[in-house]
Each structure stands twice: as C-alpha cells, then as structure tokens.
C-alpha cells in the first residue's frame, strides 16, 4: 500500500531522512519509532505531500507521489502532530470544510459527519467552536476529519503526544477500531508502549536511517524475551535471555539486587543506538 524507495530529504546541509526504504501492506498498522529528530515527521510530511523529497520515490496505492498527487490526496487521511483545526469554525463546520475540499456529495457528507462525530464521541459538541475544546477532543476531531472522505490510508504523526494517559488509551482504542475496519495505518511515535500496543510492525529509525523493521515481538526476540537488570555503581547493567528460567538462573548469580522483566522496544533501541528513545 505504501512503498518508500531510497527516500532522502536534506535541509541546507542537514540530512533529515537518509535513504529510507520500506513498504507497508494493505490493512497493516505500522509505526515509525524513534527519538525526536529521527526524521519521522519529515517522512510523514513527504508521504502526505507537504514536503518534496530530495531523492527517492514514494508510492501510495500504486500512485507515485509527485506524479499523481490529486489521486493520492483522495486516498489518504492525515492527522498531524500539531493542532491544525480551524479555531474560527465549529467542530461541524471544520468537518464540512474538509468534506467540501474533498468534493464529497452533500448528502453523503452530512451522514458521514454525523456518523464520525458519534464515532469520536463529539456529537454533543458538534456546534461548539473548536477553540473551546480540550487537547483530547481536538485530537479526536482531527481523526474524524481525516476519516471523513473514507481514505484507504491514515497517517498519524505522534497521535497522542501531549495528552494525559487516560485520553491516550481512549485514542488507542479508536485507532485499533479503525485498523480493525481495514484501514491501513502509518503512525510515528516516540512512545514505546504506543508502538507495541498498536502496531503489527515497527520501523526503528534514528538520524534519518532505518535501523530495524519487524514486528514488536520479533524485535524483542532478537535480544531475548527477558532481561535481567541491576545497578552497578550507579550504572544500569542488563543481560538478555530467551526464557524466564534462564534469566532467573542468571539473576541468582548476580551479587546485586536484580529485576527480571520482559524485553521492550526501548531495550531494542538502546542496544542499537546506545541511547534511549526519549533522549
């Protein structure tokens, strides 16, 4: 559904995306995981035609970006990282503007707007100005807006950044439901749990380069599914094991207090880069 071939984006001597090649299958939920400045947002802005690549090619549903942009625009929905709702309009007017810009049939648009406002639980706030909405409500409305013209692919750039944990989990449920209905999802995140919870496959990126691309579980299995962790003179030490039993046996031999837990994507990222995702 989405193909990136040797994607490069340079800004005045700084290379934000450096030869990214990957593909996302139809119906997949796919994450670009990496720290701030890894090139995730730049990649998503190229995929949504808000930036032009310096080199490389991008295909969405068989259409090449830069060659068939209007066809692609009807196929994609975009939820950007920043709030870009029109605060001079109500929630419903924001959706009507989007429907009109995407040339939707008036009757179909009216029904779809009502359906989506219910889907994101904002029906009772439909006629209120979006400037009065909380961060979570704005994000839900942005998702409704991105889904309005029935896209086949939804791009979500850091969909839960800045939201409190409760709202984040509510949005995760919404994203899971969209994927269950067959929508292809590509999201960027620097939240480990978000990538693990929502995505079939994860591409770990750093400094514009692809470091690894597999399912969250396969990535963790590369290291070992369990990790023994301890502190040695103020420094965190760890070792990975394929089974809990092997980890427990090793923990018994360590002279410090140890903890055994499941390996997560943060461990994978640290092992690959020597840094934490949030650094």
């Amino acid at each position: 559904m989405i193909e990136l071939e040797g994607l490069v984006k340079a800004f005045q001597g700084r290379t934000a995306v450096n030869g990214l090649t990957l593909s996302v299958a139809r119906g997949e939920s796919f994450a670009l995981l990496g720290p701030n400045g890894a090139g995730k947002t730049t990649t998503i802005r190229i995929l949504t035609m808000l930036l032009r690549p310096t080199a490389g090619r991008v295909f969405i549903a068989g259409h090449e970006v830069g060659q068939a942009d209007n066809a692609i625009k009807q196929l994609i929905g975009v939820v950007p990282q920043h709030m870009n709702l029109d605060t001079d309009l109500t929630a419903k007017e924001n959706l009507w503007l989007h429907a009109r810009l995407h040339h939707m049939d008036k009757q179909a648009a009216g029904a779809r707007i009502a359906e989506l406002l219910a889907f994101v639980e904002l029906s009772d706030r439909a006629d209120e100005m979006v400037g009065t909405f909380s961060g979570g409500m704005k994000r839900r409305l942005m998702i409704a807006r991105a889904l309005l013209h029935k896209p086949q692919v939804l791009f979500l750039d850091e969909p839960t950044v800045g939201l409190d944990p409760q709202v984040r989990r509510r949005l995760w449920d919404l994203i899971r439901r969209m994927n269950a209905e067959g929508l292809t999802l590509l999201l960027t995140t620097h939240y480990i749990e978000e990538a693990e919870q929502l995505c079939n496959r994860v591409a770990i990126v750093d400094k514009g380069k692809l470091l690894a691309l597999e399912s969250p579980r396969a990535l963790c299995q590369r290291l070992g599914e369990f990790v023994v962790e301890w502190m040695d003179e103020g420094k965190t030490e760890n070792r990975y094991f394929a089974t809990r039993e092997a980890a427990a046996a090793y923990a018994g031999s360590v002279q410090y207090n140890t903890a055994i837990r499941r390996t997560n994507l943060e461990d994978v990222f640290v092992e690959m880069t020597g840094r934490k995702v949030r650094e």
Binding site: M49, L50, L51, Q74, P80, D86, D88, H103
Partner: protein, 250 residues
Amino acid sequence: MVRFFEDVRTVMWREWLVLNRRLGRFIFSRMVTPILYMLAFGVGLGRAVQMNGGSYLDFVVPGIIALNSMNISFNSVGSPLNMAKLYHKTLEEYLIAPITTPAFLCGKILAGAVRGMISSLIIVALAFLFGANLALSPIFFALLILNCLVFAALGAVAALLMKSHEDMANFSTYVLVPMSFLCGTFFRADHLPQGVRLIVELLPLTPASHAIRAAAMQTAISEWWLIAQGAYLLLFFGMAHRLMEQIRRE
C-alpha cells in the same frame, strides 16, 4: 472547470462563515478610521481648504475610499493567511486537499475583496452623512472592486512571503502606510517633487485614487489607470501563485 468554481466557492464559504459570525463587529470597527479621516481632513482641515475651486471633502472622500479599500482588502487576506501558514497551520488543510493553487487563491482574494467592498460601502454611506457629493455610477463600483482585488492579491503575496507576524507588520508600515498618504489620496500627486512624483505614479494605489476620484467627480478616466490596475492584479496573483507553489515544493 466546474470543480474549479466549486473549490473557489468552498474557500469563500469558509471566509463567509467567519465574517458572518463577526459581521456586526466588523462593520462597527471599519467605521472608526474613515470617520476620523473625514472629521480631520474633510470637516476640520477641509473647511479651510478648497481644491480646484470645489469642496475638499468631495476631493478627499474618493481618496479615503481608495486607501481604506486597500487597507481592508490587504489585511483581510494578509494577516489571516500569514497566521494560517505560520501559527495555526490551517493552510495545511488546503495543501493536503485536492484543490488547485489558483482556486485557493481566487477564493481567498475574492473573499478579501468582499470585505473591502463592505467596508467601502460603509464609507460611502458615511460620506453622504458628512455632506459629500459623489456620483455613484457602475464604473465607480467596478473601479472599487478592482482596487479591492489588487490589494487582496497583494495581501496574499505578503502573507506567503513573510516569515513572521512582525515581518507582516513591517510590510504594512513600509508599503501600505506610505501609499495611504502619498498616492493622490489626500492631495494631488502632482504637488510632490518631480522625483518622488514619478515613483508615486508607479505605485498601485495611485491609479486607483485617480480613477475612483474621476468616477466620483464625473471627469475623464484614463485607460492607463485601468491598465495599470489590471497589470498589478495579474502581477500580484502570479507572485502569490508562485509563492504557494514554492510552499508545495519545499
């Protein structure tokens, strides 16, 4: 082609929703500056001044209409579009939609011109209350619409060009304010020193002032004024188009 007009209408529809919600405030706020201009230059100064043997109020009102339509049309497009590009990021909603640059710009410029026209009609009404004599002919309104379009297009150029809100304010200070006072609005441009006059005659508000005044006073309208305004409209639209395409190709 049908889609083009649909898209223009969509962009204008959004602007109308916003204007309609603030129409009362918009009308009252637009009355303040022209009333002050008419009091200061028309009634206050005007009683002591005659222009070509006629009333100074009759001379100055077309100039005030020209400069006011310039300011309102420019600011109706310039500030909101600059904010949409830099701060609110709402311009992205149009960039990711299947809408062409000409349709987007036409919608914004026409909507800015509508605001300029509403504001101009308020001044015309006020001018009559102040006792001015104006001939309101179809050509008078056509010239006014043309001036609104020219400066709404210039607003789009400035909004897409400027990298901060401060730069936008500077653009107004260095471009619009000098034109407001020098381009045949409050006095004839031929009273200026020769060198300055040549520059002033080339500025886009000057042909508008001349033409709107000529229409209001029922004197001859030079076709060069119309050609100049038309050329400026095409130039500014072309520049705005180019800047918008540059944003798309970043």
